[in-house]
């Protein structure tokens, strides 16, 4: 028996119904509880030290049911999905926000996009949805026609206000002076001290989850690869793994290894860019240009070997689209030698520059307690003392060969800008090592396997460690075996909350540095 399964059945007894054969892969536990027990299930999970990984809703009217509300909890290597159902005519569900903070935005999003109302939710303002959309426009409902343009109405978004002598407001964005994605940040400040920061996201909402529903199963991976362009490998991998789990596809061993290779190359490239950009926000531009040079080297090799700088569309359902040969292997190994030599020299500069150290240490601290509260994932979590990494806890080959690979996961406890930078630095080193190991030990074999169509009314789940952190895909097939719902949970969906908390006690001009050290995706969050 598993810890989470024990916890929920001892709390709810006969009220919880475990369903076998619906949710894939089988190790993901799936259960259905009555609506009034939804919160009790959350309490049981909280008591078992589980974290909320995602919460979402599905429109199941095509099955002749109402709406389904799902909450996914994680504890170590276990994932448990709790479902509750609500009637189609008056869709409501009890809010989990009081028990799990990230539910705050998940539930606002459910309310805005699916029109299922969370009861007892402290904040009923829309999220993602704009104030000039009609009140009853719920894009994720099956009855919503996405081909028509959205009519516009008058509306207002109510911001959190701070009042008092000397308090002033700084609205920043959504259009920024640099070339970054759009997002609005509203500061309440006294002098230079930040009282509160409120984020407003949704400016890059593209209706991706809705779009998935009009695609066939084998097209979806391409859209997944475009959810957040810098994480294209991990996102398409998430989609493919969820789909493969539903169809019982048996992948050749080599596929996994190639996917791991792509994943680690993506991780290195993005971490290099981030480390440079963090230093640049402290006006230490030297580091940016040197790191960008290394990143560019990697991307060009990607283009030469795999046909795309970011390895987009190279992970496909049932396999990968491109193989490597001995010559490729030599190119990658030679490049890694150059990379790690230059990288180590730059790390010394980063470590030994006192003016830089003064900026990054004790800035933007996300304390371990807060990181747990917001159920942070990925680099943000690891910099704040949470040892979470899907490569360890939810591995696919070659990561599951613990004794041979000995994957090192860096965990810092200070949770400041330096910790987040340092986690990245350590991960670059580790990824370089993993790639070398993969190249030395990769098994031969085919690089693809046929993928059958999923059966009707089944669900697939996958959690993949992208470079930002855990990416979750949850797929559901409709009554005719078509794609009924694709839920995407980018790490940004939870980690954006961390930024709001980390900025407390900091000064306004340190915000860009804090923000860059989180570097969350707008596109992956807004979907």
């Amino acid at each position: 028996m598993s810890i989470l399964k024990d916890a929920i059945s001892s709390q709810l007894g006969a009220e919880v119904r475990f369903v076998e054969g619906y949710q894939h892969p089988a190790r993901t536990i799936f259960c259905i509880v009555p609506q009034e027990k939804f919160v009790d299930a959350a309490k049981a999970m909280k008591k078992a030290y589980a974290l909320l990984a995602a919460e979402w809703a599905t429109d199941e009217t095509t099955f002749g049911r109402g709406y389904g509300i799902f909450a996914c909890y994680r504890w170590g290597h276990e994932y448990l999905i709790v479902k509750t159902e609500t009637a189609a005519d008056a869709p409501v569900f009890p809010s989990l926000t009081k028990h799990f903070l990230p539910a705050w935005r998940f539930e606002r999003q459910i309310q805005s996009l699916m029109g299922v109302m969370p009861l007892n939710h402290p904040d009923t303002r829309p999220w993602i949805k704009f104030e000039d959309w009609p009140e009853d426009a719920w894009p994720l409902r099956k009855s919503f026609d996405a081909s028509k343009p959205m009519p516009r109405v008058e509306g207002e978004y109510k911001w959190t206000k701070a009042e008092g002598e000397g308090v002033y407001e700084i609205p920043v964005g959504p259009v920024h002076a640099g070339i970054i994605e759009p997002g609005h940040f509203r500061f309440q400040a006294v002098g230079e001290d930040v009282l509160n920061l409120e984020e407003r996201l949704g400016y890059v909402h593209k209706g991706i989850e809705k779009r998935f529903e009009s695609l066939s199963w084998d097209e979806g991976y391409r859209l997944a690869g475009r959810v957040s362009g810098d994480t294209t490998v991990a996102h398409s991998l998430g989609y493919c793994m969820a789909l493969e789990s539903m169809t019982g596809c048996n992948l050749p061993e080599r596929v996994h290894w190639l996917r791991a290779l792509f994943l680690e190359r993506e991780r290195i490239a993005n971490h290099l860019g981030d480390i440079g950009a963090i230093c640049n926000d402290a006006a230490f531009a030297f580091m940016l240009y040197q790191m960008m040079r290394l990143k560019e080297m990697l991307l060009r090799t990607n283009h030469a070997l795999f046909g795309h700088r970011f390895i987009m569309d190279r992970v496909v359902p049932g396999g990968v689209a491109v193989d490597i040969d001995t010559a490729c292997r030599e190119v990658i190994l030679a490049e890694l030698d150059r990379l790690s030599k230059d990288f180590e020299r730059l790390v010394v500069i980063y470590e030994e520059n006192p003016s830089l150290e003064d900026r990054v240490r004790n800035t933007g601290m996300l304390k371990p307690k807060r990181a747990r509260e917001i159920c942070a994932v990925g680099i943000v979590a690891r910099a704040s003392g949470l040892n979470l990494d899907c490569r360890i806890f939810n591995p696919f080959p070659p990561y599951d060969q613990y004794d041979r690979l000995e994957l090192g996961v860096p965990v810092m406890i200070t949770g400041d800008v330096h910790a987040r930078t340092w986690v990245r630095i350590q991960e670059v080193r580790e990824s370089i090592r993993i790639i070398r190991w993969i190249l030395d030990n990769m098994p031969d074999g085919a690089i693809s396997a046929p993928v059958a169509a999923p059966f009707p009314d089944k669900a697939g789940f996958a959690a993949v460690e992208g470079w930002r952190g855990e990416i979750i895909y949850w797929l559901q097939s409709g009554p005719n075996g078509e794609l009924n719902r694709c839920m995407v949970r980018d790490p940004s969906s939870v980690n954006w909350l961390g930024l709001e908390r980390a900025i407390h006690g900091n000064i306004v001009p340190d915000f860009p540095l804090c923000n860059k050290s989180f570097n969350q995706s707008y596109s992956g969050h807004d979907l």
Partner: protein, 314 residues
């Protein structure tokens, strides 16, 4: 009437206008090299200015006359300052009427109006930048006066021309007070001209800006004038440092050859100053805003030490 001083005056202003952007271009070229990338060349600042001059001005609806007036005033004070500092020659008619205190006040006027204009249109960034700029100013100005006064103690005059002549005549060689004052002056120059580690002239991050935050709303020829003035300001501070601490080569006689030599030495010294500036800027990250008080406080302290050491040692 002797026309020579007036010719020099005009020549100095022309050189200021012409070489100011090139000096910034030089600093940028060096910076690119130091960071291991290729540069846009020495003349990119001129191209930037030409681009800005050819663009339309976009004004906020609630912009008052202060907002429109500020670029001309800032530009004007920079040009005027070029007539006071002995860049090529010490024989300047304006230098006789305006000493170093006037010079500091000229910069203060420009700063005052820049801060007002920053607040004028009422955006959060303008006010934020103005508040930060005033914080810097309140610390930098006394330190600057202190550093210059240390130098003027030796010459017993606040006239820049006279101070330069005295140093050149060899009456005041390298003394402890000069070293202290020079160190203080370098720190102040970094702060006054908005360089790293105080401000980042190349940043696009609205929230960290000091000088740029005040002028965020400017466009077209207004912005061109402000940019040009800030380029001249960097040139002027370097020239001021040269005139006070290393004036050798500046023409003190009405001789064409001496002026040509002065021009040559000026370029040489500017080139060297650029190298020092780039070394500082490449090796340091920007300070936390609240560290500025320590930074400028130490500048003031150094200047005071210089003054004390003058009385104790000399």
């Amino acid at each position: 009437m002797n026309l020579y001083p007036f010719v020099m005056e005009i020549l100095q202003v022309l050189i200021l206008l012409a070489i100011g952007p090139a000096f910034v271009g030089w600093v940028r070229v060096l910076k690119c090299w130091a960071q291991g990338r290729s540069s846009a060349g020495l003349f990119q600042p001129y191209r930037d200015l030409r681009k800005l001059f050819s663009k339309d001005v976009v004004l906020a609806e609630n912009a008052s006359w202060i907002f429109r007036f500020m670029p001309y005033l800032v530009f004007g004070t920079a040009v005027l300052a070029g007539g006071i500092i002995p860049i090529l020659s010490t024989d300047l008619p304006l230098a006789a009427t305006a000493d170093v205190i006037v010079l500091v006040s000229l910069f203060a006027i420009a700063r005052f109006f820049t801060a007002l204009a920053g607040m004028d249109i009422g955006t959060a960034f303008g006010g934020m930048g103005a508040s930060r700029e005033m914080t810097v100013a309140s610390l930098a100005e006394p330190a600057m006066l202190m550093a210059i006064f240390t130098m003027s103690l030796a010459s017993r005059s606040t006239s820049l021309s006279y101070m330069a002549q005295l140093v050149m005549s060899g009456q005041s060689v390298l003394r402890p007070s000069i070293v202290f004052a020079l160190l203080a002056f370098i720190l102040i120059t970094l702060a006054e001209t908005g360089r790293i580690p105080v401000d980042n002239p190349a940043t696009h991050l609205e929230l960290t800006m000091i000088h740029e935050a005040m002028i965020l709303e400017y466009s077209g020829r207004h912005l061109a004038l402000i940019e040009w003035a800030s380029m001249m300001k960097l040139f002027l501070f370097t020239a001021l440092g040269i005139a006070v601490f290393a004036p050798w080569g500046i023409a003190s006689s009405a001789d064409l050859l001496a002026v040509a030599a002065a021009l040559f030495f000026m370029l040489l010294k500017l080139g060297a100053a650029g190298i020092v500036l780039v070394l500082i800027e490449t090796g340091l990250a920007k300070m936390r805003l609240f560290r500025l008080t320590e930074f400028l406080g130490s500048a003031f302290l150094l200047a005071t030490l210089g003054m004390l050491s003058y009385f104790i040692l000399e």
